[in-house]
């Protein structure tokens, strides 16, 4: 128990995962990072990308998250996302549609910051598409 971290994956509709795991790899806004128990408390943005959950005795799970936030407090890690889909269930057409949407968004972006954010999103979406 002591070497496990309580991990929660929540979306607005419901609590998707709530269990003790060994490590979570989060696609943070400034790069991927792994979270183990005893991590420094922190709040980070999450970009759209693949979240990895590692648990001893079980296969690693890979879940696509559509951006959000991660809150980490030593023995707990909560990831809030508006959408989460296990990688196996992802479908190519859907991703391609998202990329198209993002490309349109970037045309309409009003500020540099916004453009920058969408650009990041676009990059990960493309990256994810490669994986699938």
């Amino acid at each position: 128990m002591a070497d496990k971290i309580a991990f929660e994956l929540v979306s607005p509709d419901h609590l998707l995962i709530s269990e003790d795991v060994d490590m979570i790899v989060i696609p943070g806004g400034e790069g991927d990072f792994g979270v183990l128990v005893g991590h420094q408390p922190m709040i980070s943005t999450v970009r759209p990308g693949i979240l990895e959950v590692e648990k001893a005795g079980a296969e690693n799970r890979r879940i696509f998250v559509n951006g959000g936030f991660a809150e980490i407090t030593g023995d707990r890690c909560a990831v809030m996302t508006e959408e989460a889909v296990p990688v196996e269930e992802l479908d190519r057409a859907n991703l391609e549609q998202r990329i198209k949407d993002a490309e349109e968004d970037i045309q309409e972006a009003r500020s540099d910051l916004e453009r920058h954010l969408i650009d990041l999103k676009l990059a990960t979406l493309r990256e994810t598409l490669q994986v699938v």
Partner: protein
């Protein structure tokens, strides 16, 4: 006095009405259960969001250059009232209580010389407010045809609010809805969306958090820029869910009352029917007997 036939038809009518109200009550009851589950399921997300916003927002609010979504425009001139009601009637005072509160506040704000704009969510609220304040309603978002409220249904509302805010159309935004307390009690709630009302940080942090000092990545400001619109969406979504549960609850108790009233009515009419029938028989007998005596 009504004839026997009239009474019989009336009893028949009331009975079929009762059947309808009873069916509606049962439908509302099962919908209520689903709506309640949805409210429960959405709670963890909203709670965490609130906690994060609480710890972030309080440290940012005093600084200069804080996002306007958090601190507002610094003015208090134009108010946007987002009035969320149901799409259907026959649910007791559910819709009218929201509309009444909105109307009272419009009047109050106007008396203070403020400008008011109204964004209606749901048909029923618009129908009521249109009579008096048609020129204040800038738009109506209908939710007809949605069986199960999903997060994406809250999106257009939040987007519209954010667009209006960015266009400088209003300074303060308040959301009106009924919070679900129990089947018989729904609490009218006004929630200020912009500037964001911050939860009290002190009683939000559980003991496990203590006074944990967070690292922020990228930095507080950037997180807030992302967090605030999302928070708005979640708040709208939650309000819609609460509203849906309240509506079903209100309908359930309204229909329960209607069924009971119909039952009372049937009892009364049946009594009346029997009396009339007896009276008729008696008078017929008297006629026969007095006829026989006269012979």
């Amino acid at each position: 006095m009504a004839s026997l036939k009239d009474l019989r038809t009336r009893i028949g009518t009331v009975k079929s009405t009762q059947k309808i109200t009873r069916a509606m009550q049962m439908v509302a009851a099962s919908k209520l259960r689903r709506a309640q589950d949805a409210v429960e399921a959405a709670r963890p997300y909203a709670q965490r969001m609130e906690r994060m916003l609480g710890s972030l927002g309080s440290s940012m609010a005093e600084q200069e250059g804080a996002p306007p979504l958090l601190v507002g425009t610094g003015k208090d001139e134009t108010h946007l009232l987002v009035v969320a009601t149901g799409e259907r009637g026959l649910c007791g005072a559910f819709n009218s209580s929201i509309a009444r509160a909105a109307r009272a506040d419009i009047r109050k704000l106007q008396a203070e010389g403020k400008k008011v704009k109204v964004l209606c969510v749901g048909r029923k609220g618009r129908d009521v407010l249109r009579r008096e304040y048609n020129d204040l309603i800038i738009d109506t978002i209908e939710l007809t045809g949605i069986r199960r409220l999903a997060f994406t249904d809250a999106q257009p509302i939040a987007v519209e609010i954010l667009d209006l805010f960015e266009a400088g159309e209003f300074d303060v935004c308040t959301l009106y809805f009924n919070a679900f307390k129990s089947v018989i009690s729904q609490v009218l709630t006004r929630r200020q969306l912009i500037p964001a009302s911050l939860p009290d940080v002190d009683d939000q942090c559980g003991p496990d958090l203590g006074d944990a000092i967070y690292d922020y990545e990228p930095d507080e400001e950037e997180i807030l820029v992302e967090l605030l619109p999302r928070n708005l969406r979640v708040q709208v979504y939650q309000a819609l869910l609460e509203n849906a549960a309240s509506e079903q609850g209100a309908r359930m108790s309204a229909m329960d009352n209607a069924t009971r009233n119909a039952g009372d009515m049937i009892d009364k009419l049946t009594l009346n029917y029997n009396r009339t029938r007896q009276a008729q028989i008696t008078s017929e007998l008297i006629e026969i007997i007095s006829g026989a005596e006269a012979l």
